[in-house]
């Protein structure tokens, strides 16, 4: 199995407080891996260190065969931040055009991506007038530009209605089928079931990992919500 991300003994300390400590994890290529955990468990910090904007204290992160944050990775990773990092005072199309110019992608792919995230009819709309869900989708669209091999998605479905969430998950699986790797975080436990494998984080440490069915078997529960509560609740 090819590795998209390999993390070993990662420790991140912020203001004297360990956010991530001695963390080991592996993300296989072409899979959807979900990182779950209560808020404050270090999900966002972990993602930021993978894309290379978070300074790490010790340990190593290898991304697509290179050290995290190296220059060659910049066009190969798509990153969706937790709060939609888009320009509110630009239209959807202008936002996408800018990111596309920076990545040297074609205008044709913008149309394609607008279709994918279902924003074609909003393309001339200012981002500040979009609904919360539309903003998230626009931010996701900017992450898809340039056809990155690895997508790091921090809470991609937060604030979306169930129908849209199903649509997005269809898209995620479609992308994984094309060989892309997706690492995402979520608060919604039924989404965990849709991941190929799950990493459960608590206080910056990996509490448990495995496929959804493995975790269910290990805890003797039938739904992910109960799995989560029994694993996180137990100490």
């Amino acid at each position: 199995m090819q590795e998209a991300i390999r993390i070993s003994k990662l420790t991140i300390v912020r203001e004297g407080k360990p956010i991530v400590s001695e963390l080991d994890a592996m993300v296989p290529s072409g899979k959807i891996v979900g990182v779950l955990g209560p808020s404050g468990s270090g999900k966002t910090t972990l993602f930021r260190s993978i894309v290379g904007v978070q300074r790490i204290h010790s340990g190593s992160i290898s991304v697509l065969g290179q050290s995290a944050g190296s220059k060659d990775l910049r066009s190969r990773i798509g990153y969706l931040t937790q709060s939609a990092s888009i320009y509110s005072d630009l239209t959807c199309l202008e936002n996408l055009r800018y990111f596309s110019k920076l990545l040297g992608a074609s205008d044709f792919s913008i149309q394609e991506i607008l279709e994918l995230v279902d924003l074609t009819k909003n393309k001339k709309q200012l981002a500040s007038t979009l609904s919360g869900g539309e903003r998230t989708r626009l931010a996701l669209a900017t992450a898809l530009i340039g056809k990155p091999e690895l997508l790091i998605l921090d809470e991609p479905t937060v604030g979306l209605d169930p129908i849209l969430r199903v649509e997005l998950w269809k898209l995620f699986h479609q992308l994984a089928d094309q060989g892309k790797t997706l690492l995402l975080s979520s608060h919604v436990m039924d989404e965990a079931d849709r991941c190929d494998s799950i990493v459960l984080l608590r206080e910056g440490k990996v509490l448990e990992e495995g496929t959804p069915s493995e975790l269910k078997a290990r805890t003797g529960k039938t739904d992910m919500e109960s799995v989560f509560i029994s694993l996180i609740g137990a100490t």
Binding site: R48, R55, Y87, L90, Y98, L102, T142
Partner: protein, 242 residues
């Protein structure tokens, strides 16, 4: 370094401005209004208006661009777009130059309108060429931008960014020779003023206004300040946070 990416950033910033007509109107109209007020404040001393107005033509663009740039880059920092950009194949200098290009264009438009308004309706007389005055005003705008870009890396909030105006620009305004010729100032202040970019901006404007002396040295020094400040802005732009 890629010209395409510099242009992409410049065009993006100009599009943002275009969607914000109120800012454009304020950028153009506020200096014209101030010049008009100045004209009537000195109605009985037209020679004072002649002296002060020229210098102000250079100071307005600097103040405006300083404020716009520090707020704009701080906004990029707080809404996360800067972080998004820095993980893309964007060179930090490309980002900075994109800003310089966009606001340089905005500064040029402002300078053309304001100097034309001052020379036309307000009857400001300049001995040198209007075009040279515009060039100086535009360089001043870029100077304001470069200082804004640089200091905004030291600001964590919008409040702090705005406070850099009295902390960084106003001392220059006091020392640049606008209030009293630099030769009247105590030695130590004169020495300090030698190291402040606004000093040369005001010197160049005065020379154009009076049509005496060469501004080449002033322009070269302003250019040097620009290069150093923009480079410092790029260096202080950090890809990683602690």
């Amino acid at each position: 370094m890629s010209i395409t990416r510099i242009w992409a950033t410049a065009r993006r910033i100009l599009s943002q401005l275009r969607h914000d007509p109120r800012t454009i109107a304020l950028m153009i109209l506020a200096p014209c209004l101030l010049m008009t007020i100045l004209k009537y404040v000195y109605q009985n001393q037209p020679q004072v208006f002649q002296q002060v107005a020229g210098s102000l033509l250079g100071i307005f663009p600097m103040l405006v661009m300083f404020l716009i740039t520090s707020v704009a880059t701080l906004r990029e920092r707080t809404n996360g777009t800067l972080e998004r950009l820095l993980i893309l194949p964007v060179n930090k200098l490309e980002f900075i130059l994109g800003y310089a290009k966009a606001f340089g264009i905005a500064g040029l438009i402002q300078a053309v309108v304001v100097t034309t308004f001052a020379i036309g309706p307000l009857g400001l007389k300049i001995a040198g060429s209007q075009w040279m005055l515009i060039v100086v005003a535009m360089l001043d705008a870029l100077l304001g931008l470069a200082i804004g870009l640089f200091v905004s890396s030291f600001a964590k909030t919008e409040f702090q960014a705005v406070q850099f105006l009295p902390a960084v620009l106003l001392p220059q305004l006091l020392l640049c020779g606008l209030l009293t010729p630099r030769s009247n100032m105590p030695g130590i202040l004169r020495v300090i003023s030698n190291f402040l970019p606004l000093t040369y901006a005001i010197d160049a404007t005065n020379k154009v206004m009076q049509g005496v002396g060469s501004v080449v040295n002033d322009l070269l020094l302003i250019g040097l300040f620009l290069v150093v400040l923009l480079a410092a802005g790029a260096v202080t732009l950090k890809r990683q946070t602690k």
